[in-house]
């Protein structure tokens, strides 16, 4: 069963992630009054990148990116086999640190600046991520994804604030405007391409692929707010996930990119207010 789940995740996640990314690009284009690329464009891009020669500035970049890739996959597997949510957060951090180190190792100005910003982003969203896990724990009595998914009431009933907070940091994690400060899907960044500046060809492809895996993982957490014992709750969760994703696209097109200090301040504030108050009430009631 566990291996089946892992296999399913490993196979389906990139498909779903790629497709979502395609939807994102298509809808973004339509928001901007453009025709937009074909739906399968992200896959074309990925295959192309795998076909291309990779340019590296040193020999350790691919090692770090490999670490990033492997640990993102690992984290996803851990989540979908029903592992410990806190450990999922920690493993995700580890993966991100690998990516950050890949950027630093390049020793190039834009990639280094990107890595500092990436760290800052991590600093911004990390509290809310942990708080979400804690929220699940208090609401359902367990950190295990398996147990949380089997609760009798959807956790969101207890965790509306956390849900909001999580959606908020999701913008950072999805690298969407206004929080796409370390690297962006859009061109014209003061960072050039930020952390991915020095990555190219198949190494870049790995990063893209990892992002898809990660997107699915994050949407999994969104879904976790919704699911409960009933089978149909999974359907609702899927719809909510899709909706959350499109919402992020909408937001992406609605805001200018903010500066790092606004990002940090607002994210921490939202964490403190939406998450903290939710936590306070939960502990008082439970």
């Amino acid at each position: 069963m566990m291996f089946l789940k892992i296999a399913l995740y490993l196979i389906l996640a990139p498909l779903i992630g790629g497709l979502l990314s395609g939807i994102d690009r298509k809808i973004s284009a339509r928001f901007q009054g453009r025709q937009g690329p074909p739906l399968l464009q992200p896959f074309y891009d990925l295959f192309k990148l795998f076909e291309k020669q990779a340019l590296v500035v040193n020999g350790v970049q691919d090692f770090f990116v490999g670490g990033y890739f492997v640990f993102i996959l690992f984290t996803g597997c851990l989540f979908f086999v029903g592992g410990d949510l806190l450990l999922v957060c920690f493993a995700l951090t580890l993966a991100e640190v690998f990516l950050m180190m890949a950027a630093c190792s390049a020793n190039s100005p834009y990639s280094a600046m990107g890595s500092q910003r990436e760290l800052l982003q991590m600093m911004a969203y990390e509290p809310m991520l942990l708080l979400t896990a804690i929220g699940f724990y208090i609401a359902t009595g367990s950190f295990m994804v398996d147990d949380i998914a089997k609760s009798s009431v959807s956790p969101i009933a207890y965790l509306p604030g956390m849900f909001f907070g999580f959606l908020y940091i999701l913008t950072i994690k999805f690298r969407k405007s206004p929080f796409d400060i370390s690297t962006s899907h859009h061109a014209h960044q003061e960072m050039v391409k930020g952390i991915t500046t020095e990555l190219s060809g198949n190494i870049l492809a790995l990063v893209e692929l990892a992002v898809w895996y990660e997107d699915v993982l994050l949407l999994g957490i969104v879904g976790l707010f919704i699911v409960n014992m009933q089978w149909w709750s999974f359907l609702i969760a899927a719809v909510v996930c899709l909706f959350a994703y499109i919402l992020e696209t909408f937001v992406d097109n609605l805001f200018p990119r903010v500066k790092w200090n606004s990002m940090l301040k607002s994210t921490w504030l939202v964490t403190l207010i939406a998450g903290g108050v939710n936590l306070l009430i939960l502990t008082l009631v439970h």
Partner: protein, 359 residues
């Protein structure tokens, strides 16, 4: 060692529409020092006067820049006309005025888009450029070019716009005006956008004066000067007021430019109403002899065309002082102490045009 990074910014950089280079000294992301370097687009076209005769040079002049192309051609022509004492027909003056303002419209809309892009608002960029396309269509229909027009010549214009065409244009302008109202809300009222513009790149009135700034960049710091008031082309017949703002920051510059968009639409309307019929050019005889400093208000501010002739068909000297050249010191001033994330905005709020600057 220090907590300062030293990094190159440009000449190739995705936020830069054109190559310019800055040595940035950064603390975290605070710009401690910015040393500019230009010359990546320098062609040396002023020296072409030795090879192209003064009539042919119009085509060079309008290729100083593809954004403010029309007024470059016109400014050069007016300067030579002054030297030669040529009076162009009134209809030509009005045609020039209309095209001037259309240039301003497309340039400012383009700038709005680039600014939006600089603060990472892609959809706003798309929206602005989408509107700009309408102006370009108008240009294409009237001049045959979208960015390089080739309608100016010494002594007048080469192409005319008939009544139907002008009427059609007015209709399009009405549409644009409506869309512009909607668009300006996002630029001027949106809190998130405001946070990226307000207080960013502040320049006092005194600084603006001392640094010799021109155009909307200067007017946003509260100096009331607009070269159009000198009344070249048909501006002396047109009723308009100089737009200024006192805030002196990037927001004020946006505001001034947006207001100028509405103003340009208004000027075109007035011009279409008043345009007299008649010839669009007079024949020009002889060769220029003498000198003149011609000043016109480009979208980015006052440009100076200095022409010196010697009585042959080759001029002695043509010198163009473009607004961006004058605004660069002001931009450097605003860069000091700014955030790296603001650097694109600061570079853009002067609406730099490097190919103009370097010629």
């Amino acid at each position: 060692m220090s907590k300062r990074s030293i990094v190159p910014f440009g000449p190739h950089h995705p936020v830069l529409p054109e190559p310019i280079h800055l040595d940035l000294v950064l603390e975290d992301e605070k710009v401690v020092e910015a040393v500019p370097s230009i010359g990546f687009i320098h062609r040396g076209l002023e020296k072409l006067v030795e090879k192209k005769d003064f009539n042919e040079y119009v085509y060079v002049a309008e290729r100083i820049c593809g954004i403010c192309s029309f007024m470059h051609g016109m400014g050069y022509c007016e300067a030579v006309e002054h030297v030669m004492g040529v009076e162009i027909p009134p209809r030509a003056k009005y045609l020039r005025t209309i095209w001037c303002e259309m240039s301003r419209l497309h340039s400012h809309l383009m700038w709005l888009g680039l600014l939006a892009d600089a603060f990472g608002f892609e959809s706003l960029f798309m929206q602005s450029w989408r509107m700009r396309e309408k102006i370009l269509d108008m240009f294409e229909a009237s001049t045959g070019g979208r960015v390089i027009f080739s309608v100016n010549k010494i002594g007048g214009e080469m192409k005319d716009m008939d009544g139907d065409m002008l009427k059609g244009f007015l209709k399009i302008l009405n549409e644009i005006e409506k869309e512009l109202r909607e668009l300006s809300k996002t630029f001027l009222d949106n809190k998130a956008v405001n946070s990226r513009l307000q207080g960013v790149g502040f320049l006092t009135k005194q600084q603006a004066h001392d640094l010799g700034t021109v155009g909307p960049f200067m007017r946003a710091s509260g100096i009331d000067r607009d070269t159009r008031n000198m009344g070249y082309a048909a501006y002396s017949d047109i009723d308009f007021e100089t737009i200024t703002s006192n805030a002196g920051d990037s927001y004020a510059r946006t505001e001034v430019r947006i207001k100028e968009l509405f103003q340009s639409i208004d000027i075109i309307r007035q011009a279409v109403e008043k345009i007299p019929s008649g010839e669009i050019a007079v024949p020009v005889k002889g060769f220029p002899d003498g000198e003149y400093f011609m000043r016109v208000e480009q979208p980015r501010g006052e440009a100076v065309y200095y022409v010196k002739g010697n009585g042959t068909k080759f001029l002695d000297r043509v010198r163009v002082r473009t607004p961006t050249f004058a605004n660069l010191p002001g931009m450097l001033e605003t860069l000091k102490g700014s955030q790296l994330a603001d650097v694109p905005i600061l570079i853009l709020t002067i609406d730099p045009c490097i190919s103009c600057t370097e010629r």
